[in-house]
Amino acid sequence: MLGYLIEKEFKLAFRDAIIPRITLVMPLVIMLVMPLVADMEMKSINICIADSDRSGYSARLTGKIAASPRFVLAGLPATYREAMSSIEAGAADMILEIPFEFERSLASRHTAHVTISANSTDAVRGGMGSSYLTGILNDFARELHEERSPAVGMSAAPAVTVQNMFNLRLDYKTLMIPALMVMLLTLMCGFLPALSIVGEKESGTIEQMNVTPVGKFTFIFAKLIPFWVIGFVTLFIAMTVAALLYGLVPAGSLAVICLLAAIYILAMSGMGLMISNYSNTMQQAMLIMFFFMMIMLMMSGLFTPVSSMPQWAQAVTVIDPLKYFIDAMRLVYLKGSSLSQLGRETAALLVFAAVFNGWAIWSYKKRK
């Protein structure tokens, strides 16, 4: 009996006007466009430098900033007001004001003040811009120090070296790509099942199924299988694009990725079917799914690290399946973590799969 139902679901899925196309197009679009868009790396911050000192030091500092790959010199206005108007026009992101007697103050008193004004409407951009600029100021100060007293150095302080691991090119895309794969699976395997049962409700075929001896479990299970296949097709297309275009191949085992993806797809489809059970129209199903999807995405650590969230929000993320799969995918893809290191994530995903599907079966009522 199950065999016939699965056959029906496959035929319906592949004969659908949209599903096969979207299975192919979505991963391509997401993987081609998203990594380029989701680049939170701060390149080309436009800076205006208002230099009232016009000394050797201030010229050197200006040159140093202009030479930095992060900054683009957007202008050298004479006054702060002039600089402000280019911020308002959107031509500049930040202003550095070098005050009169900057060089003299540094030479005589060992210290000088400058003013950084950053447009922080986008707090991340403003914050990172000013911290990069502060870094350049510190470097400049150290340079001056070494020129003046090369022998003294900072002998008392230990030399600090920094070593980066895993993402040696410091490429933000490398971080985003595995997480984008998760987002992709979530969209495909969350939304499509959400439309599945409610679609049968709208067309009336569900009545016909309800008067047959088909069991709840069989009916739901037959619905899940095609999404599994769709999910894996999507995932493999995405992984191929990642490998060919961005040169990103998993550091860990493919088997672990497949195993986790299999559990995750099951969990998301279960959630979709569950929502489908509670909706009477496709519009409703779509809206409910969108609501949860939005929250789950924002809380998942896809865009901002979970560890930065306030305590209550971190507590909420415990029930976010996306978070576990994003963590797991990043770990396997970038750090090559083994299944034993992913015990927590695997267990959590299994629990989600069991709960969502159990709920979907329970809430599917053949009889009212």
């Binding site: 939170m40 980066n164 691991m165 690290p305």
Partner: protein, 379 residues
């Protein structure tokens, strides 16, 4: 239909009768209405509180082979800082890979040789910060913070005369002194919500009428087709107005985001965007045939571009030039820019005239194209 329904007013005006029908239609579905009203509130709260990149109490691992007063003092100082928490002491530097592999700890501090028994260092001391650079932004910030804490510790031990010169920056965070990320998100959430309600819901509801056949009935009546469509938009306009107020009130009262510019201008810009969204919904309904297609067209064709290209989450300035060009056909991009200008930066109309003009132009184009397509359908 019972006559005491609050919406069944003057039946003699076809427009009011039609709009009344639409209201009844969507307000009978309590769940949908609730979702549409709760969703923006939930999003504002989440964006406002939960979505930040602030660094605090980051767990780190430490490898300290010498274990003496000097190293203990530094470790204590790091642990005491608001940015870090010493989570784990390692027995060997090789353990770092394993610890990073579990994902919780993202930074390790490795003490080298030269940390003798006394607090004074003999000049050979070295420290290594090992960062998990999977998130390069976070790794960069974390190493910068940790280096600063270490530098402070040793600078405090130096006699003042030997200290290097310092350039002290006075940092002014314009428009958003508390660096709240929500400043960036309030306009974005509005852009998203209006699109969801106006474009998506309108297109689905028009297409559904066509699917169920009731559209035929309406078109067969003496009411003008444009009036039928306009009536469809009324409840969604009302919902948008309610949401506009909710989002504004929430952001001012709960999140403390002030309305720096003119409220009237803000309302005008938002109304313009709402109208453009409705027209987008109408346009979608003229090109698709089924509800499912309408959903996918508005979901994939509108929602995803808004999330990605409008500057809601990712700054447009960071995108490759081709995508920046592409993003300029997304109405939300212009709306969000105008909103940021008016609401956060407090700019006057002259500063956002380009954005407003683009939105107007988009509205006109959509209206003309949809009307043409709609007429073709009828013939």
């Amino acid at each position: 239909m019972k006559n005491n329904s609050p919406f069944s007013v003057h039946r003699n005006s076809p427009f009011i009768a039609l709009a009344g029908k639409e209201f009844r239609h969507i307000f009978r579905d309590v769940r949908t209405i609730l979702l549409l009203l709760v969703m923006p509130a939930a999003q504002i709260i989440l964006f406002g509180f939960a979505v930040t990149t602030e660094i605090k109490e980051t767990p780190i691992a430490v490898f300290d082979p010498s274990k003496n007063v000097s190293t203990a003092r530094l470790i204590k100082r790091i642990d005491a800082s608001e940015y870090f928490r010493v989570e784990q002491m390692l027995h060997h530097p090789d353990e770092i890979t394993g610890v990073f592999g579990e994902g919780k700890i993202r930074l390790a501090l490795v003490f080298g040789d030269g940390f003798g028994g006394s607090p004074a260092l003999d000049g050979r001391a070295s420290l290594q910060i090992v960062a998990d650079a999977t998130d390069p932004n976070q790794a960069g910030t974390l190493t910068q913070y940790l280096s600063a804490v270490i530098g402070d510790e040793y600078r405090s031990q130096l006699p003042a005369a030997d200290a290097p010169p310092s350039i002290v920056p006075v940092v002014k965070m314009l428009y958003n002194p508390e660096m709240k990320s929500v400043y960036n998100f309030v306009p974005g959430v509005m852009g998203l919500i209006f699109l969801l309600i106006c474009a998506m819901m309108t297109s689905i509801s028009i297409v559904r009428e066509r699917e169920t056949g009731t559209m035929e009935v309406l078109l067969a009546s003496p009411v003008k087709p444009s009036l039928i469509i306009a009536a469809k938009a009324v409840p969604y306009l009302a919902l948008s107005a309610v949401n506009y107020c909710t989002v504004l009130l929430l952001s001012v009262l709960v999140l403390g985001v002030p309305v720096a510019g003119s409220l009237a201008l803000l309302t005008v810009a938002s109304s313009l965007y709402i109208v453009v969204s409705l027209l987008l919904g109408l346009f979608i309904s003229t090109v698709v045939r089924t509800q499912k297609a309408a959903m996918i067209a508005s979901g994939m064709g509108l929602m995803i571009p808004v999330m990605l290209l409008s500057g809601l989450i990712f700054p447009v300035a960071n995108m490759p030039v081709a995508l920046q060009w592409l993003s300029s056909v997304v109405p939300a991009r212009w709306y969000i820019r105008a909103m940021r200008g008016i609401m956060i930066e407090g700019l006057p109309l002259t500063a956002v005239r380009l954005e407003i003009a683009v939105l107007c132009a988009m509205g006109v184009v959509l209206l003309v194209v949809s009307l043409k397509k709609f007429k073709v359908r009828l013939e």
